[in-house]
């Protein structure tokens, strides 16, 4: 099944976007760190119009990655650029990029925060971005301040809103 998926990805340039959109499952993988970081899972999972997702945990920790839709549209990732740990990032600032066949696609922070960890597994295995973008393919773990970020969080899409945005 996986190999079939990857063949499809390589040809994504010729596949109508609507098809990709209908195929996308953009919900968080419940078996991986971005979900399991808290015992009860994240308090919220939000999405951006630039196709990033962020899982927000109650202790002020968050995970960032790109959506299934974005990963499928990009095709096979060949390199994932990640930020330095400890870096303070402004809202909307670029924190890395995903390179697929000759395309560098920027990834932005939907909230302000401090980078705590990056997913070093992506250095060896950038294809995790394609295989499990909302789980094993998470990119950045960061700390955010709930009070300061409230407005920014409210401005992000819920899963339903994001899926609706994709269909528009």
């Amino acid at each position: 099944m996986l190999s079939t998926g990857r063949v499809l990805l390589r040809q994504s340039a010729t596949i109508p976007r609507l098809f990709l959109r209908a195929q996308s499952t953009n919900s968080l993988n419940k078996l991986e760190l971005p979900f399991k970081y808290s015992n009860s899972g994240p308090s919220q999972v939000k999405y951006t119009k630039d196709h990033e997702w962020v899982s927000l945990h109650e202790d002020g920790t968050a995970f960032l990655g790109i959506t299934k839709y974005a990963a499928d549209a990009l095709g096979d990732a060949t390199y994932v650029e990640l930020p330095e740990t400890g870096r303070e990032v402004e809202v909307e600032e670029s924190v890395g990029s995903v390179e697929s066949v000759k395309s560098a696609s920027e990834v932005y922070m939907p909230l302000a925060g401090t980078v705590k960890e990056v997913n070093t597994a992506l250095e060896e295995s950038p294809q995790l971005i394609n295989e499990d973008p909302l789980g094993k393919g998470w990119m950045v773990q960061f700390e955010y301040e709930l009070e300061k970020s409230k407005a920014a969080i409210d401005g992000l899409y819920t899963l339903e809103q994001y899926e609706k945005f994709l269909k528009e």
Partner: protein
């Protein structure tokens, strides 16, 4: 003489040629050319005013044929003109009409206005500075407006021709891709661009095209497919085609490369097209994938090596004209698609200069690629590098050193001779 006849038709064609030979000239040429089209008198014509007497006399003399003495005077004045003035005079004499105002480079405020206003356009850069051109491209990309709820109608097409340079992709290792010493020796600039993809060599015979559209409409093969159609229409039916990687082939040989960038709902596809490049002289500048005596362990993005060829067009201008025409017809709407011109002195602003400085910086060029490990066969040494700095090595006392400086000094120090294969 045919060259002169050709230049009569197009003043800027000449300016373009001059510009290629000496990057210093056009900056001084443009204001002069611009002045020619200005209808304003640069001074108040008033004979009683001594301040302008000399100038007025000079102009009167210039346009009065029957006064031999003053003609001499005028000649002496021409003699003290610089070579640049003479060139401009020559240009002015060759052309019956002055440079049309719409072909003058956009001033910084006009550039900002056209970029920020929704709509399609073509921009041709008259600069051959690769740093400026990449910075201009980034400025246009960043500032093109995007409205989520409406269909994207601000496709832009930019053309530029760079002086000799080697350009690597954003996520590449510069030492793995380029023979830096050789490039330096032969007078090439070395750049890391902001988009993905592999290493490529530019010279004045190579055109860079950059097609900007929305992320939504982004397809890697879209614009190259159009170029293939446009070129095949020029009488080389079927000679141009796309390969599986979306590269344009001429008679089965690669004639250019592509790279892409996606950010904030927008995308661009920029590509190179070899028109009359000195391809033979590119030899020995790009490193092959399997380098002798060295093993790179790195997530760095690969360059796909391929034999390349020029396409059979007379000039880079001709390629630009074919694509401009094709773009204007393909995206035809009620309003015609304008063509603007830029150069690196008039059409710049602080944002462009900031990117230009970043692209010029060693920090961006040498310290921003992926981390890597390199193994040297001769001595079995291993060096690990992150952000341009040696973080660990079997060679004593080099930890913490700047990798570029290490290679530079390595050539002189006996104990670092093992680094030779890295140069």
């Amino acid at each position: 003489m045919t060259a002169v006849a050709k230049t009569c038709l197009n003043a800027y064609g000449v300016a373009g040629t001059v510009l290629k030979r000496s990057p210093l000239l056009p900056n001084i040429c443009y204001p002069q050319l611009k002045r020619r089209v200005s209808s304003k008198t640069p001074f108040d014509i008033n004979d009683s005013d001594d301040k302008y007497k000399e100038l007025n006399d000079y102009y009167r003399d210039l346009f009065t044929n029957d006064n031999v003495n003053t003609t001499l005077g005028a000649t002496s004045k021409i003699n003290i003109k610089t070579e640049i003035d003479l060139l401009n005079d020559e240009l002015a004499n060759l052309t019956d009409t002055a440079v049309p105002p719409h072909k003058l480079p956009l001033r910084s405020e006009d550039l900002q206005r056209v970029v920020e206003t929704p709509g399609r356009f073509v921009i041709k850069s008259r600069s051959n500075d690769p740093y400026f051109n990449l910075a201009l491209e980034h400025y246009i990309f960043k500032n093109t407006p995007l409205f989520e709820q409406s269909i994207f109608s601000s496709q832009r097409l930019l053309f530029y021709v760079n002086n000799k340079c080697a350009v690597i992709g954003k996520n590449q290792t510069i030492w793995q891709e380029l023979y830096l010493n050789e490039l330096n020796k032969r007078g090439y600039e070395v750049l890391r661009r902001l988009s993905g993809g592999g290493a490529v060599i530019h010279d004045l015979g190579n055109v860079n095209y950059s097609f900007l559209t929305s992320r939504e409409e982004f397809r890697t093969t879209f614009f190259n497919q159009l170029i293939v159609q446009w070129l095949n229409k020029q009488g080389h039916i079927q000679d141009f085609e796309l390969n599986g990687r979306g590269d344009i082939l001429y008679k089965k040989m690669k004639c250019g490369g592509s790279a892409f960038k996606i950010a904030r709902g927008k995308s661009y596809h920029h590509g190179t097209m070899l028109v009359n490049s000195d391809i033979d002289s590119f030899h020995g500048l790009l490193k092959p994938s399997g380098q002798k005596g060295v093993r790179w362990v790195s997530p760095s993005v690969d360059s796909v090596r391929a034999g390349v060829t020029n396409i059979p067009l007379g000039s880079t201008e001709q390629f630009i004209d074919i694509c401009t025409d094709g773009f204007q017809k393909y995206f035809k709407s009620a309003d015609s698609i304008p063509v603007y011109y830029c150069n690196d002195t008039v059409s710049t602003n602080s944002e462009i200069e900031k990117t230009r400085a970043l692209l010029r910086s060693d920090k961006w060029k040498y310290c921003s690629g992926p981390k890597f490990k390199v193994e040297l066969d001769s001595s079995h040494d291993v060096i690990e590098v992150e952000k341009g700095i040696v973080v660990s090595s079997t060679i004593p006392n080099i930890k913490g050193m700047d990798f570029q400086r290490l290679i530079d000094t390595g050539s002189n120090e006996a104990q670092l001779q093992c680094l030779k294969p890295l140069m």
